[in-house]
């Protein structure tokens, strides 16, 4: 789910950037630092314009100037139970290892895994197809590149990345036509 979130960040500026275009540099630095990054349980999608930069302050002992920036950003936080659309990154399991069955889906910045138990039983793995696919031998074909709608079942946050498991074993979930 997307939110507007207010945050603040401290930016250190090297003295070489001191000067009239300093504000530009702070902007750049901020966007570079936060946009598209995982901030714990959510992703910062986009920093909104009109943020507020505090007075600069030279840090004692070093020549850097410290600016505190208040900004608003569009963030996306996946929730358990949320239905998302994703694009299939890869199909898991040309390797016939039965335990590794399922497929990975990229949902924005997070990678979700749909395990075999989360796939309707009529959709079966077909390792002989190229590329390998999950299919019910009718209109539902899940292969690399397929757009798919899935529901997040759980989220794991690791440093700098998020990982989810998801299911398509519910009504209206599965590959998008």
């Amino acid at each position: 789910m997307f939110f507007l979130h207010e945050m603040e960040r401290t930016i250190l500026i090297h003295p070489s950037f001191f000067g009239p275009r300093m504000r530009d540099y702070i902007d750049t630095q901020l966007l570079h630092d936060v946009e598209g990054k995982n901030a714990g349980s959510y992703f910062i999608i986009c920093v909104m314009e009109g943020y507020h930069v505090s007075e600069g302050r030279v840090v004692p002992g070093s020549s850097h100037a410290e600016y505190t920036v208040h900004y608003r950003a569009v963030v996306w936080r996946p929730f358990k139970g949320e239905v998302v659309n994703g694009k299939l990154k890869q199909l898991d399991g040309i390797v016939t290892s039965v335990v590794e069955t399922g497929f990975f889906v990229d949902v924005g910045p997070i990678s979700a895994f749909v395990a075999k138990t989360m796939i309707p039983s009529d959709i079966k793995f077909d390792g002989n197809a190229t590329p390998a696919q999950w299919t019910d031998n009718a209109d539902q074909v899940i292969e690399k590149g397929t757009h798919i709608r899935l529901k997040v079942k759980g989220i794991r946050v690791e440093l700098g990345s998020m990982f989810a498991i998801a299911t398509i074993k519910e009504d209206y979930l599965g590959p998008l036509a």
Partner: protein, 1095 residues
């Protein structure tokens, strides 16, 4: 008169009786026995009679009516059935009751005379009935039982229906009403009623005793005392049986035993005692006197305090095994294995178990061994199947079994598609071993079956379908569930009991009760308590959990993707593997990434465990470490158990078995064992921690001693090596002649080669047999001017034999030629190494006897003394003894103590220093290994050399010590055998170690840096027995000498009590107290086998 309900029973009972109408048989006798019944019912009968008078219909039609009425009770049908059952019970119970009632009747008889009643009864009942049959006395006796019933019956069912009864439905209505009432009584009341009336045999008199609390049943001082009599431990039961027999024998004699009961508690702490309940000590003595295994002396029976009596019968409720439960086997081949209970013997001592067999099908044993066993001959098989080396648990495979054991394999008689095989002494059903086990060999508590184990049992049933008996499993698991599993903060769910389905967060755990705050539903927010047994951990899809135990997946972290009852399927974070574990084995993992590792130790760190032990970290867990220590054992420990981390020493050097250096990152290969190879990760003293990437266990790490490896590839770092290069210092290596550089070269001797100018024959090659004179010589070859041909040939020194120019006899050159010129024979010494196998060398190897003529004189002499030498354990060479100084070698003995073989002592050593550095040690182990054992002349030959070289030069020995710096050496020299033990029982491997000290000697500076000092050089001077000492590497570590398996003494915890109650079943005129005592007995003995007998 009992309560109204009593009549109900009577009524319902009589109904059945009615369908099989008992002939109305009355006689005087009957009248007497049933006077009471008549008394009871007399009033009512009067009424009845009136009624019967009014309506006069034949009994038959009444019966029909009654049937009809019964049918009418549509809802009463079931009730009727129930009644019938109840009646059966009643009848059973009544048997017991009769006795008492008889007594009562007797009492009453005194008061009430029979005749009036008889007459009245006859008048009342029989006025419409043909009574011809009544005179039949025999019938009457047959029907006694039936006649007992009337007093419980509804009066109108007592006899055939009076005439006119069919029109009178009053009684039917009455009956129906009663039945309705009865049906309306709820089952519990009904049961209570039944119990009150019939449940107990002896307490009917005071029917409310059922309500008496247990505490009032506890024996008092008025009850008979209990006496403890000692007996032979284990024979308690026999003693009790003997007492019982004696009791029976004397019961009807003039002096019956005055005891009330006897019992034992064999399996418990009361082992070795039987307990006899009696009023007087004398009775106890009389009961036990002379009984085998009972030790009764006049003062022996110990009176049990009244307060302690109850403790005697206290039973710890043993877990009753039921088919389907899981147990673990405590000992034997299957120690620790899970087994499913197939059947429980009725005696409760044995169970039939289903086990996944561990069979090797004879692959690891002598093929004949099992056959021998089968034929009855006892053959002691080598101790197999320790827990470590037993075969893996797999289902029985007849094809495997047929391969080697076809003869002891036979198809058993299976039932219903079960495959039964008899293999050896055991039976295998559907692949499982089915075997009887004694219960005390089983672990029934804390079984903790893991899902993997359990699925083995489940999946292997028909066609591998998963028919896991979850109920049984749950039962087993629930038994073992303990409060420890729940921690405050856990989400739990109540899955049984009234509050089933309630879930919440545990906020406290006390003993077996968990306090939880309900998180969902109507009770949300409430705090309730629930017993641990009714709880299970609750997980939801997507929960991030960690496996905390009880399975092979311990420490895996993953996300829950499926929850079914107790089983949780999760997807591991590490490899997206789906695993299924029990909820109890899971715990919610912190949401932060699992990868953060706070341990201050890293994988492959070398750590110091204690002063003498180091270990290498092979696994880092969140709060523990798994390390491989220098003894090749793996242990898990807390970081706090580690004293410090040892920095990797970049310049650490060890020597391999060939004496070459090992440094970090070198690739080495194990010489023995599995021949593993790998990269040296750490060098610590003489232990190498080696990493082998192809090995999966222990993170690819293993530990070896440096002396057990050879360097395969050194990692070019030697150029920078701080110390001098050993190989450069060693003449033998410099010469480069020795095969792969590890043969000890001959002593390089000073002065002119003794071979020069000698007359020699060529012993082999194209010039074999030709005689000549040595014109020139080098280390390896000599140029020989042949006598027969004017030609100078170059021949290997080894293939020359020195002849006396005049006699043509063989001359033992090196020795005979005098001490000053040892050089000539240098080659021979070289040959003494095991590698040189030809010619002269052969003579020196113990196996090959010295080649007669060529054996130097002293050698033969020595050989002659071999036995003597051997008697000295091979330590003292023959020539030794002969020498004035024990240390003087034979060939040096002309010279007394002066040393060596090469002339003046000071000259001996190569490289100066006055010591025989080059030397001998190389031989020592070699000779030792053979010399001590064979005692052949070869030994005598070889043996003596060793001491000779260093022995006499104490100074040299000193230098050796310096050079070698062997702590081990010092340590062992003290305890070592006396002098002359230069021939330690070193394993052959030592021979390879040997050169090292030799090198070491001339290069003392070098050794100082070596972390793995080598001991050899040292013992020359002291003649310590290096048997153990300096050759740590030579003796493979044998950690295998484990502790012998000492099966723990298992106390038979059979809580059952065996005993008998003399009073049981109505014996004697029990006082009230006794009755209660008995009650108490019975209630306490609910779950024990009671050896009671009725009298």
């Amino acid at each position: 008169m009992a309560s109204f309900a009593n009549h109900d029973f009577g009524g319902s009972e009589s109904e059945d009786e009615d369908f099989n109408p008992a002939p109305a048989v009355d006689s005087d006798n009957e009248e007497e026995t049933h006077s009471k019944a008549n008394n009871k019912s007399s009033n009512r009968e009067d009424e009845e009679n009136d009624n019967e008078d009014e309506g006069s219909s034949p009994p038959k039609s009444k019966q029909q009516d009654r049937k009809k009425s019964q049918d009418d009770e549509t809802d009463g049908l079931n009730d009727a059935n129930g009644d019938n059952e109840g009646e059966e019970d009643e009848e059973d119970a009544e048997g017991g009751e009769d006795d008492e009632e008889d007594e009562e009747d007797d009492d009453e008889e005194d008061e009430v005379t029979g005749h009036p009643r008889k007459r009245r009864r006859r008048d009342a009942r029989l006025q419409f009935i043909d009574v011809e049959a009544e005179v039949d006395d025999e019938d009457e006796e047959d029907l006694d039982e039936d006649e007992d019933l009337p007093d419980e019956m509804h009066p109108d069912d007592l006899v055939d229906m009076p005439a006119g009864a069919e029109t009178d439905d009053r009684r039917h209505r009455e009956l129906d009403r009663k039945r309705d009432l009865e049906a309306n009584l709820d089952a519990e009341k009904q049961a209570a009623l039944l119990k009150e009336r019939y449940g107990r045999n002896r307490t009917t008199r005071n029917a409310d005793s059922a309500m008496v609390s247990q505490s009032l049943l506890v024996p008092t001082v008025d009850d008979p005392s209990i006496w403890a009599v000692k007996c032979k431990p284990g024979k308690e039961r026999e003693v009790v049986m003997s007492i019982m027999k004696r009791f029976e024998d004397r019961i009807n004699t003039r002096d019956p035993l005055g005891i009330h009961s006897a019992f034992e508690r064999g399996g418990t702490a009361m082992i070795g005692h039987v307990y006899v309940e009696a009023r007087k000590r004398e009775d106890v003595i009389a009961a036990c006197d002379g009984i085998q295994n009972a030790y009764v002396r006049p003062n022996a029976p110990v009176l049990i305090q009244v307060g302690e009596m109850t403790s005697l019968l206290k039973t710890t409720a043993s877990k009753t095994l039921e088919p389907g439960m899981y147990v673990r086997i405590k000992r034997g081949k299957y120690e620790g294995d899970l087994a499913a209970v197939d059947a429980v013997e009725s005696n409760g001592l044995e169970v039939t178990l289903r086990i996944v067999p561990r069979l090797d099908y004879g692959n690891n044993e002598d093929p004949g061994a099992l056959i021998l066993d089968a034929s009855g001959k006892r053959k002691r098989l080598p101790p197999k199947s320790t827990k470590a080396n037993r075969p893996p648990a797999r289902l029985f495979s007849e094809t495997e079994a047929k391969k080697r054991h076809g003869r002891i394999l036979s198809l058993g008689t299976g039932t219903l598609g079960k495959k039964v095989w008899n293999y050896g002494p055991d039976t295998y059903v559907d692949g499982f071993l089915v075997k009887d086990f004694k219960i005390n060999h089983l672990q029934t508590e804390n079984v903790n079956p893991t899902l993997e184990e359990v699925t083995k049992f489940a999946s292997s049933n028909e066609e591998g379908t998963d028919n896991l008996d979850l109920a049984a499993l749950a039962a087993t698991i629930r038994e073992t569930s303990t409060a420890v599993e729940f921690l405050p903060g856990d989400m739990v769910e109540i899955f049984q009991g009234e509050q089933q389905g309630v879930c919440g967060k545990a906020i406290g755990v006390h003993n077996q009760v968990v306090t939880l705050r309900v998180s969902e539903g109507e009770m949300k927010g409430q705090i309730i308590e629930a017993p641990v047994k009714a709880l299970r951990k609750l997980f939801r899809d997507g929960d991030h959990v960690k496996v905390i135990g009880g399975s092979k997946y311990t420490d895996e972290v993953g996300m829950v993707i499926k929850v079914k009852d107790d089983r949780v399927t999760l997807l591991t974070d590490s490899n997206n593997q789906e695993i299924t574990v029990f909820a109890r084995d899971l715990r919610t993992a912190s949401d932060s990434g699992a990868a953060i590792n706070s341990s201050k130790y890293d994988l492959y760190d070398l750590v110091q465990l204690d002063a003498s032990t180091v270990a290498c970290v092979i696994k880092v867990d969140r709060d523990s470490l798994r390390v491989l220590d220098q003894n090749d054992t793996v242990r898990s420990l807390l970081p706090s158990n580690i004293s410090n981390r040892i920095e990797r020493r970049r310049h650490a050097v060890a020597t391999d078995r060939d004496g070459s250096e090992i440094r970090n990152d070198d690739t080495v290969k194990e010489n023995y064992g599995e021949g593993r190879s790998g990269r040296v990760l750490h060098i610590h003293r003489n232990f190498l921690f080696i990493q082998n990437r192809t090995q999966t266990e222990n993170a690819g790490l293993f530990v070896v001693r440096s002396s057990n490896v050879t360097t395969v590839a050194a990692k070019g770092g030697k150029v920078n090596s701080a110390g001098p290069d050993l190989s450069k210092m060693n003449p033998a290596f410099q010469r480069g002649n020795a095969a792969n550089g590890n043969a000890m070269g001959p002593p390089k001797l000073m002065g002119r080669d003794r071979l020069l100018g000698k007359t020699v024959t060529v012993r082999k090659g194209p010039y074999k047999g030709l005689l000549g004179i040595v014109k020139d010589s080098s280390d390896e070859s000599a140029r020989v001017e042949l006598h027969g041909k004017n030609k100078i040939i170059s021949v290997s020194r080894e293939s020359l034999a020195i002849k006396d120019p005049i006699t043509g006899q063989n001359v033992s050159v090196g020795f005979g030629a005098g001490r000053g010129r040892p050089g000539a024979v240098g080659g021979r010494f070289g040959a003494g190494t095991p590698r040189a196998s030809d010619g002269f060398a052969g003579g020196r190897t113990p196996m090959a006897p010295p080649s007669g003529g060529r054996t130097p004189a002293w050698n033969q002499q020595a050989g002659g003394r071999t036995p003597a030498a051997a008697m000295h354990g091979g330590r003292t060479p023959a020539w030794h003894q002969q020498a004035s100084s024990a240390r003087t070698p034979a060939w040096g003995h002309a010279d007394g103590n002066r040393t060596t073989y090469g002339g003046s002592g000071s000259q001996t050593a190569y490289g100066g220093g006055g010591s025989s550095t080059w030397n001998p040690n190389s031989r020592t182990p070699f000779h030792g290994s053979h010399g001590t054992s064979s005692g052949g002349s070869g030994d005598a030959y070889t043996g003596p050399k060793t001491p000779a070289w260093h022995a006499p030069t104490p100074s040299s020995s000193h230098s050796h010590n310096l050079g070698s710096r062997t702590p081990a050496y010092h340590a062992n020299s003290a305890s070592s055998a006396p002098i002359s033990a230069p021939t330690p029982g070193a394993t052959p491997g030592a021979a390879f170690d040997a050169p090292t000290p030799g090198f070491g000697a001339p290069t003392p500076g070098d050794t100082s840096d070596r972390p793995t000092p080598r001991g050899y050089g040292g013992y020359g001077g002291v003649y310590s027995t290096p048997a153990a000492a300096p050759t740590p590497g030579a003796f493979p570590d044998t950690p295998g000498y484990g502790m012998p398996e000492t099966p723990a003494a298992v106390v038979d915890e059979d809580p059952r009590i065996v005993g008998f109650l003399a009073g049981y079943g109505g014996w004697g005129e029990g006082t009230r107290g006794e009755g209660e005592w008995f009650e108490w007995h019975r209630s306490a003995w609910d779950d024990m086998v009671l050896w009671a007998f009725h009298i």
